[in-house]
């Protein structure tokens, strides 16, 4: 399949998520995955995920939590408070924790360390749903990277190790029904029931596939990459995956690397 939109690979400036999507649709007129929902394509300029942006921005700058602090001193990898292009360069290694962290893991880390929230606070314990602080913050922060090309760093040996382990996990058959991720994402244009599946080798399908947060029309909620992993693992009949665990991080490292060079749609709208 085609690799890279001519002239737009390694995009390093902000683009409206709908513009990013339209270019991908033009570049891949025969992709059943990208074109599967005319309704969602039509709705994209009015993506309900955009409604979370204002709340997310307010939550980011508001002095909150037991420490009465904003998240402006949180470093997502490009410096304290720097959000432009930060989301597409995760997961990455963080010196202060000594480990590779995915976006949600890092956000929760900052909410705990800087703002003083604990696991008992709904601000960090509630991970899913458009009404959760986590999803509002995720949507706002990710939106600052819309149109930037996925570019998770692999310079640190731990970043490379986690990406490579993620690849092994992607192909590891297991669970009650012997599935691996590739059973559904290894070939193009296939369906499970009504859902046309993205292929991980087609980076232009894959950038849309990994472009979370996205409003899921069928669930009427904005969802995260971690929520997608939880749903896949559940359907695959593996065990129940927990949040903030490195299995998530490794898989996301592989996912985002597989979309490398293609612009992210942030936030996206999915079926």
């Amino acid at each position: 399949m085609a690799v890279g939109v001519a002239g737009t690979a390694a995009q390093a400036e902000w683009q409206d998520p709908n513009d990013v999507l339209q270019k991908l649709l033009e570049a891949q007129p025969d992709s059943k995955y990208l074109h599967q929902s005319e309704m969602n394509i039509m709705m994209m300029p009015d993506n309900p995920a955009l409604w979370l942006l204002d709340d997310g921005e307010r939550l980011f700058y508001e002095e909150r939590g037991p420490n009465n602090a904003s998240l402006e001193s949180c470093d997502f990898g490009k410096g304290e408070g720097v959000l432009d292009g930060a989301y597409v360069e995760l997961p990455r290694y963080f010196e202060d924790t000594g480990k590779v962290m995915d976006f949600e893991m890092r956000l929760v880390h900052c909410m705990k360390e800087i703002q003083g929230f604990t696991d008992d606070d709904s601000a960090v314990s509630q991970r899913h749903g458009s009404g959760s602080d986590i999803m509002r913050l995720t949507t706002y922060i990710a939106h600052q990277s819309s149109g930037y090309a996925w570019n998770p760093p692999l310079d640190h040996p731990k970043e490379k190790a986690m990406r490579d382990a993620g690849e092994v996990l992607f192909f590891r058959r297991g669970g009650a029904m012997d599935f691996n991720c590739a059973a559904c994402h290894g070939s193009s244009g296939k369906q499970i029931r009504a859902s046309v599946l993205p292929e991980m080798r087609n980076s232009q399908e894959w950038t849309k596939a990994v472009s979370w947060p996205a409003h899921r029309a069928g669930q009427d909620n904005v969802r995260s990459q971690n929520h997608r992993i939880r749903g896949c693992v559940w359907q695959m009949r593996h065990a129940g995956i927990l949040p903030d665990t490195p299995v998530n991080t490794a898989l996301i490292s592989y996912w985002n690397d597989a979309a490398r060079g293609e612009p992210a749609i942030l936030p996206d709208l999915k079926r």
Partner: protein, 229 residues
Amino acid sequence: MFNKNTVAAGVAAFASVALAAGCAVADGNKADDVDITAMSAEELAEHLIFETNSWRDQEMQEGGGWRDRMTQDEIQKACSFDSTRNDLDGETAGKVVALAREQYQAPEGDIELGDWRKGAELADSGYGYRIGHNVDDHGTREQGGNCYNCHVMDSSVSVQGTIGPNLENYGAQRGDSQEIRQYVHQVISNPHQYFPCGEMPRFQGLLTEEQISHIMAYLLDPESPVNNR
């Protein structure tokens, strides 16, 4: 039932990794844990699955816990490669076919077909064996066959997957002899006997023999809508 390795085998395989790194407990959440860069990608993947508290502590529908569910058996191990990039090599194919034949339990005597109407319901049902934030309770609803997730069988049924081959008129084209019934039973029970490292689950153990007989009727009974397309 499940032909899984014992829990002990899974633990033993990773104890060496933890020992080599000089650390008894590795929760993966601290910088002074095991050195993940000293492991191969395969070792690290197993470490992440088994040593980092990544799974909910729940009892699986088939019994056992997450560790049993996530421990690979020999077929799963042999088939954990990138089949979209590499063709299955002959040696692995032969090994997987042999393992599958060894696991497979043939019914005694002639194979009788069940009720195709029940088979239709089972083929349509994607219930069963899901665990985690929502748990499929086999006590309140029987597990299904998931067939329509991947196969077209009766195209008048709403929406149908295309990961597996189209099975419309399966019995109409092949007849309903004991030989065909034996073959279909083998494929549903343990498809690796004919399609090594294919995507289809092994249903012997996931479904009861009675449920399999209903699904076979749905595929082979001349009265079934599958054979009247």
